[in-house]
Symmetry: C2
Subunit: 330 residues, 2 copies
DNA sequence: TTGTACGCGTTATCAG
DNA sequence: CTGATAACGCGTACAA
């Protein structure tokens, strides 16, 4: 067990606790000799300071909370996991730990507890809804926090991919390949990201000087049945391309097309605004936007830590994507 | 901001800090009247105690660490998420928080940091490998911990589904449906769970008084190509049923069968020892064992908290499954 | 360069 | 039943 304290070290070395503390933190004037001696001793007896005690003294916890949803959305899981990994790499390197609080749209008791009990120095919101109560709450408490994704509130620090540009670019490529009757299928309109992607989609048409057919934009594909109906409609209307808002819809569209004997890319091209293993391994493999979620998490963490250390970094929008062209748009 | 302390409360109420502390904790003799007065005041000014300060005094942190893998295994993600949710429900109700530490087979620095810095009271290992360095490390430090899944070391507290019985039951059902040449396909033999499932599989044959064909047990299906080859072999050998160790293999087998024009359940029946959304929504839907991961996490958390509070609960093996019969074994 | 003394917010001990 | 007082382990003005 590791129950050594700086007092023990001080006694063993015949110096004061203050000196030991200084040697460890590197703060304050102290001779290189004693520093060396202390560090040596610490290393040999592999002492590590108590984060709790330090926290009490410094009024810090060296913990940040990461908020993830309770509910089980299988297609979003890889995103959260990668994101968390990116966060973890940064926090770990700065000796912070991650407290996870599983939260619901209406119920953020877990988050509130962490704040109330003063267990955290800051928060990362890994999902941004148009109407985010948690963000509102955090703002009121004055707790530093960043949102991954976009928020309506310009005051909240946002870390996001430059979805507009990314989606514009992918859409432009499809236009460049000759698509004129391009459909956009999405759901979850409450998520801010859907709106952002839509922007990029429209922008591509603008910059091509073409009028986008607004009637080909479907934002309520909330069931497989609905997607199936949309697909039928698209074939009737002789659409030449489909862009899906996310990998879930793309995967569903792919399966449905196979069932309906719609050939991709022969009859219609297919692309997704979000990549996944399902789209890279499917038959045919689907062209998609590949966002680096790990990096996104890392930047979010780095930004939050800056805030905790007193800086005011502001929002960041990352050019953090690759367009991966696959058979589905050949 | 919430920076009120018990000293402030004591002063405002004209009593001592001790009394305030007692009123809050409920410990020690104290009149119902003053308790009421204090609680009332606390409620009105919505004061909440500092977990850090309490931690220092009590030598506790009210945090537990949950260890999950860094790497991205898409099919395992739902398990971790559900598990975490179950853990979260229990810890939350007891005012504990979850510190997550992402760990690798060889690298558990994150876990070690949490232990060294005394930031946690216990650990839940959400994955058990045959050779688990983290468990070994924790044992040495004396930190309370439980493993979800099984361990070779009888001394470590294990929380697991009764896989043997569950797999036995599913296998028995298939035997009951007339399968005599039943194949078992698995991979990841390093995971203890694979071994456990194999046990159940064999047991079903024993209790049916039939000799299992050991040559139909494939435990190295580590690639889609390999699964494809196995499938071909099974058709040649006129196997009449396939049981997959997990949902990943089952999903792959399903896709491959479609490509090879192998009819399920016509040509061969298919079942999986682990359920997933992919198997319930596929065509045909696949018979599978449905394990309650959330409950598993909850029991693990409850067990760990008992240990932290000084009890010695011991391992628990839960009858925590349903067999869901679907078209694939009709 | 080093040491003393006190504070951080709670709980625990031991008198009253 | 209640209240000083001392921990808990570390950081930090202030002093030497």
């Amino acid at each position: 067990m590791n129950k050594m304290t700086i007092a023990d070290i001080a006694e063993a070395l015949g110096i004061s606790k203050t000196t030991v503390s200084r040697a460890i933190s590197g703060k304050g004037r102290i001779s290189a000799g004693t520093t060396e001696r202390v560090l040596q001793y610490i290393h040999e007896h592999n002492y590590t300071p108590s984060a709790v005690a330090r926290g009490l003294a410094e009024q810090k916890t060296y913990n940040i909370a990461v908020v993830c949803p309770k509910e089980y959305e299988i297609f979003r899981l890889p995103y959260y996991h990668s994101c968390l990994y990116g966060i973890s790499e940064i926090t770990g390197s700065k000796n912070y730990d991650i407290l996870i609080s599983m939260t619901d749209d209406k119920d953020f008791r877990n988050l509130k507890r962490a704040v109330d009990n003063r267990k955290i120095d800051g928060v990362i919101l890994t999902r941004s809804l148009m109407d985010d109560r948690a963000a509102q709450y955090l703002k009121e408490t004055g707790m530093p926090f960043v949102v991954i994704g976009r928020s309506n509130d310009p005051e909240v620090v946002q870390i996001d991919n430059d979805h507009v540009e990314a989606c514009r670019e992918l859409t432009s490529i499809l236009i460049g390949k000759g698509c004129r009757k391009l459909a956009l299928i999405g759901d979850e309109y409450t998520h801010t990201v859907a709106y952002t992607r839509l922007q990029g989609f429209r922008k591509a048409f603008q910059s091509a000087g073409i009028q986008a057919d607004e009637s080909l934009i479907y934002l309520n594909a909330d069931s497989e049945q609905r997607i199936s109906d949309i697909l039928d409609e698209l074939m009737n209307r002789r659409a030449d391309g489909i862009v899906c808002m996310d990998e879930k819809i793309a995967a569903a569209a792919l399966v449905l097309c196979r069932a309906k004997h719609i050939m991709i890319p022969g009859d219609i091209k297919l692309a997704s605004f979000y990549n996944s293993q399902f789209l890279s391994r499917s038959d045919p493999a689907v062209t998609a936007l590949d966002l680096d979620d790990t990096r996104l998490g890392a930047v979010a963490a780095a930004t939050l830590l800056e805030m905790i250390e007193g800086k005011s970094p502001g929002s960041r929008f990352l050019k953090n994507y690759q367009i991966i062209l696959r058979e589905s748009t050949a």
